[in-house]
């Protein structure tokens, strides 16, 4: 079905986008029903998720087949690359919103509640006795233990280990990438596998840390602004790492099947970019959420 005239491959009709849209709809419907307390909600949500997974296999499978059939020129490849880059940029902006909330709360909202700057009257009339500090769960001591207190996770323990894990994984994926370019399949294989393992360990440590926070530190999503920003930022990051690991696993399977060549390996490159992005977000998190 390839175009004979242009060397830009234009597919003719595809069922996958509409499958994707319907699945998204079902997911949204299920999620909303679930939040509204309906029992069917979760089932519907899972149904949508299943649809989305099915779509992913179908859509990406088609793309991979077309790629192997040699329908894509370097020109198409460039579109994919640029598309992926801009997608990652949109993800950056998504995180930017949450970092913005963190900065706003720390630099403005909490100090104002504590009486700094324009917050003098706010503090004296509404929240007298509240002192601006970070971490905090606010003047109302929302969440936390019976006295409203909570503890935070220090940066020097597991978070530091996690930083090391992710930074190392960034190196291993780069090694794998270079190996791919040099057609060193063995090193490519090892590098990718190592990255997966490092990512998985990272996730394990993160989960461990969450359990610890919930059970021992009285630090929860509901623990005022600190808990909110902490869990939303690290949580969304964790979700992205999970996605990254899944993508890496798929990539690894493709490597085992002999996909990718030294010159054409958009799939690999996209995943590696994504992985670096997840990494950079973590470094920002480590600095702004844990250390500072």
């Amino acid at each position: 079905m390839a175009d004979t005239k242009s060397d830009y491959f234009v597919p003719h009709g595809s069922p996958w986008p509409i499958v994707a849209s319907v699945s998204m709809f079902v997911m949204a419907l299920g999620g909303a029903l679930w939040l509204n307390g309906s029992d069917a909600g979760r089932t519907v949500l899972l149904l949508g998720l299943a649809g989305l997974t099915f779509m992913m296999f179908g859509w990406l499978g088609t793309v991979i087949r077309e790629n192997i059939a040699g329908l894509y020129s370097g020109w198409v490849d460039r579109s994919f690359r640029q598309g992926m880059a801009w997608f990652i940029f949109s993800e950056v902006m998504f995180f930017f919103g949450f970092f913005g909330a963190l900065f706003y709360a720390r630099v403005l909202a909490v100090p104002w509640l504590g009486g700094d700057g324009i917050g003098e009257a706010t503090n004296s009339l509404l929240w007298s006795g509240f002192e601006s500090e970070w971490p905090t769960n606010g003047p109302g001591e929302i969440g936390g233990d019976a006295e409203g207190g909570f503890q935070t996770i220090g940066w020097s323990g597991l978070p530091l280990l996690n930083t090391a894990l992710l930074l190392t994984s960034s190196v291993t994926i780069t090694i794998a990438h270079h190996a791919l370019k040099n057609n060193n399949r063995r090193l490519l294989n090892i590098g990718t596998l190592l990255t997966i393992v490092l990512g998985a360990v990272f996730l394990y440590v993160q989960a461990f840390e969450y359990v610890h926070a919930y059970q021992d530190l009285d630090l929860r999503l509901s623990t005022g602004i600190y808990g909110s920003t902490f869990f939303m930022l690290t949580g969304f990051h964790g979700a992205h790492v999970t996605l990254g690991v899944i993508m890496l696993v798929v990539t690894y399977i493709r490597i085992l099947r002999g996909h990718f060549t030294p010159n054409e390996h958009f799939g690999f490159q996209a995943v590696s970019w994504y992985w670096h992005f997840v990494d950079v977000v973590w470094v920002c998190l480590f600095i702004f959420v844990y250390v500072l």
Partner: protein, 293 residues
């Protein structure tokens, strides 16, 4: 100032003549400008509005004049031949620099007024204003007076869907108990809210400030003339948003003192009604949204 007003009227008449014929020629209130100000600061704001309006009208006349001229003069049907030019650095610099200068000229007086406006120091009287869905509460912190201000009964009855009742002159702009302040005194308002965001607004004072739950916002006014001033809530706050009016009575100092005395002496229990603790004010309101499941 006069000119801009006349221009606005002219423009309006030109455009709306057709509709005028259809609309009922009721006892018309054709206010075309900001209301007369009851405060000195308000006069300055009104002046800024006029200044900006004049600048815009003048630029508008030039821009639309040139446009109109081109449309008439360079019509193809009149045999106009198209020129070929497509840029002129000189012209482009001119029409970049001139607007910059105009804007700087406009920004300076505006900044001055802004700074004056934000100065809440040295107030003579402090009133804490709390927005509720859908009424206001006024607490005179210096006198221990506190009361709610609700929409008046007549408006309330007439505002029911399909009521079809007669609407009085101050329909939706009247309350049972107005806020009362002395004339010529700097009154500082400390605004907050019990539930969602409201905004306290009296147009003739040129004061509008949001009442945000969990926060105190400060603003001030100094009324120059006695009288009754009317406004209403200016931030969407739910179904009753259109129905939470504000009325301020500005009185001579002695009348005001009598008003204060009348409220503090006999009406002890109501006047000293304790405001609920701040935390319990805020937390349940926010939980209200979250508690539905």
């Amino acid at each position: 100032m006069y000119r801009s007003k006349a221009h606005g009227r002219w423009l309006f008449i030109g455009i709306a003549a057709a509709a005028l014929a259809i609309a009922t020629p009721a006892a018309a209130d054709w206010a075309l400008d900001f209301p007369a100000s009851a405060t000195e600061l308000g006069n300055k704001v009104r002046g800024l509005h006029h200044l900006a309006l004049i600048i815009c009208v003048v630029i508008g006349i030039i821009v639309f004049g040139v446009l109109g001229y081109s449309l008439v003069k360079f019509r193809k049907s009149q045999g106009a031949q198209a020129a070929k030019f497509s840029h002129s650095t000189k012209a482009e610099i001119v029409w970049t620099v001139i607007p910059v200068l105009i804007l700087v000229g406009l920004a300076i007086p505006t900044a001055r007024v802004l700074i004056e406006m934000e100065d809440t120091q040295a107030a003579d009287l402090r009133i804490k204003v709390t927005g509720y869905q859908w009424k206001w509460r006024y607490e005179y912190l210096d006198h221990g007076i506190s009361f709610f201000s609700n929409i008046d009964d007549a408006s309330n009855a007439a505002s029911i869907l399909g009521a079809g009742l007669e609407l009085h002159e101050h329909y939706l702009r009247d309350v049972d108990k107005p806020m009362v302040v002395p004339v010529g005194k700097k009154v500082k308002l400390q605004l907050t809210s019990n539930d969602v965001i409201h905004a306290w607004w009296v147009p003739e004072f040129y004061v509008k400030r949001d009442a945000v739950p969990g926060t105190i916002n400060e603003t001030w006014f100094k009324a120059e003339k006695t009288g009754t001033y009317r406004g209403q809530c200016a931030e969407l706050c739910g179904r009753g948003h259109g129905f939470m009016p504000i009325v301020v009575e500005v009185m001579e100092q002695d009348e005001y003192d009598a008003w204060v005395a009348g409220l503090t002496a006999p009406a002890e229990p109501e006047a000293l009604e304790e405001p609920e603790a701040a935390v319990s004010q805020i937390a349940p309101a926010a939980a209200g949204g979250a508690s539905s499941r």
